[in-house]
Subunit: 249 residues, 2 copies
């Protein structure tokens, strides 16, 4: 196993950071790595906002559901889907690009582009001995996040990423059985096998929580997922996205 | 610069592979790396389909716009957003999860999850000396891809990824100026500066093409983008996604 693969397989989210800020050099390396990711037809449809200002970080921490580590870390990135740049390009070049950049297809492209860049940033940071955690919580209230970060139309803040020097490492969290996620030739259709895989995994996750919490918690994965998905959260998203002129047609 | 960062920064898409297949061991390592990526609230909302069958690869190559390297490579992965698993989980646990998994929010989660996993796979493969290329072309005709890969409702094939032993390395393609993509504290609003950055970049890209093609091609980036975006492509996507019960509410 090479060093990169070992870095990747050792990923765990870090939520407890030392009080030490990243250097501008480190930030630049991480952003350059983000930019090196593949991008659909070279479109580069994302932007990254870095937050150093403590007051702003605190506000984001509250918006993200009072998650302290959104403020206390070495640096906070916010990754955004960005087709605003391409509206400007249309103006520069005198071409009508609006139908295209307002399509569901380009919304998907921008999301995927931003995520590919973010994961490069994550791996780069981890390879430097730093820890990271994605912050989906900023999607709790994108209207307020948008105002705070002054993002224009056609830009959607997707998630934050805290980076910093780990204070404490969590255990590795076991993933779904490989055969449940990876199929050959076609999507697996045998429901019985599929269900059995999920039940086996439930046992693994239940044991994982039990061991970490001294028996206080032992939820199964499917139980956890069903509880989470039963709640309808962030149902304003469609309206927000479309108000920002994405995913319209 | 550590080995991982150097792998990341050396990324270029490979479209010309030696006639040598990946071993099952290599495929397993790549998929395990994909699975190690962060996932929103542990939801793991994606699946990966691996294609070895040459006839199926050829069909996909035609569907993706007659791109020969979609067939000629060491292995072909197709990454899918997958909330079908979570419909099943709702049934298993007797909870109504449908409104949730049909929301724009969860559509975004599934896309981001799949892309994070894919980028881990890409970096892992490249660290093993393999080359990769993302294949957005499968979105040219998802109805046919869906039929070929037998994906059910609530599963959207997003992109392919060819992996293999590089026959020939392309040059590194210069990305947007870092300052155009990365802003501190808030999204950059000075249009003049922004435009100047894009113009500078146009010069870099024009020179890049000129040198690679002995002067035959020298398109600027904004020119290339405007031309591409002027064409309305894959405008069926919204209907396809919603027919597959995602991004509905």
């Amino acid at each position: 196993m090479n060093e990169t693969i070992s870095t990747i397989l050792n990923h765990r989210s870090i939520r407890d950071f030392k009080d030490k800020q990243l250097s501008d050099e480190q930030i630049k390396t991480i952003v350059s790595c983000a930019q090196a990711a593949s991008t659909s037809s070279f479109i580069q449809a994302y932007s990254i906002i870095g937050i150093k200002d403590m007051e702003k970080k605190r506000k984001l921490a509250v918006l993200a559901g009072n998650q302290e580590y959104v403020a206390q870390n070495g640096h906070l990135f916010v990754f955004c889907a960005d087709l605003n740049r391409h509206e400007l390009i249309g103006e520069m070049e005198g071409k009508d690009v609006l139908a295209s950049i307002e399509s569901t297809e380009k919304f998907m492209v921008a999301l995927i582009d931003a995520a590919l860049a973010a994961q490069n940033a994550a791996i780069a940071a981890e390879s430097m001995g730093l820890g990271i955690c994605y912050i989906g919580g900023i999607r709790n209230n994108l209207e307020a996040v948008k105002e705070l970060l002054k993002t224009p139309e056609r830009v959607i803040p997707l998630f934050g990423m805290t980076v910093g020097y780990p204070e404490r490492m969590n255990d590795l969290k076991p993933r779904l059985p490989l055969e449940n996620v990876y199929h050959e030739e076609e999507y697996e259709q045998d429901k019985e096998i599929y269900l059995r895989q999920l039940q086996d995994y439930d046992g693994i996750i239940s044991t994982y929580y039990e061991q970490r919490t001294n028996g206080k918690r032992k939820d199964r994965w499917t139980e956890q997922m069903a509880k989470m998905l039963e709640k309808q959260t962030r149902m304003y998203m469609k309206e927000f996205v479309q108000k920002n002129k994405m995913d319209l047609r």
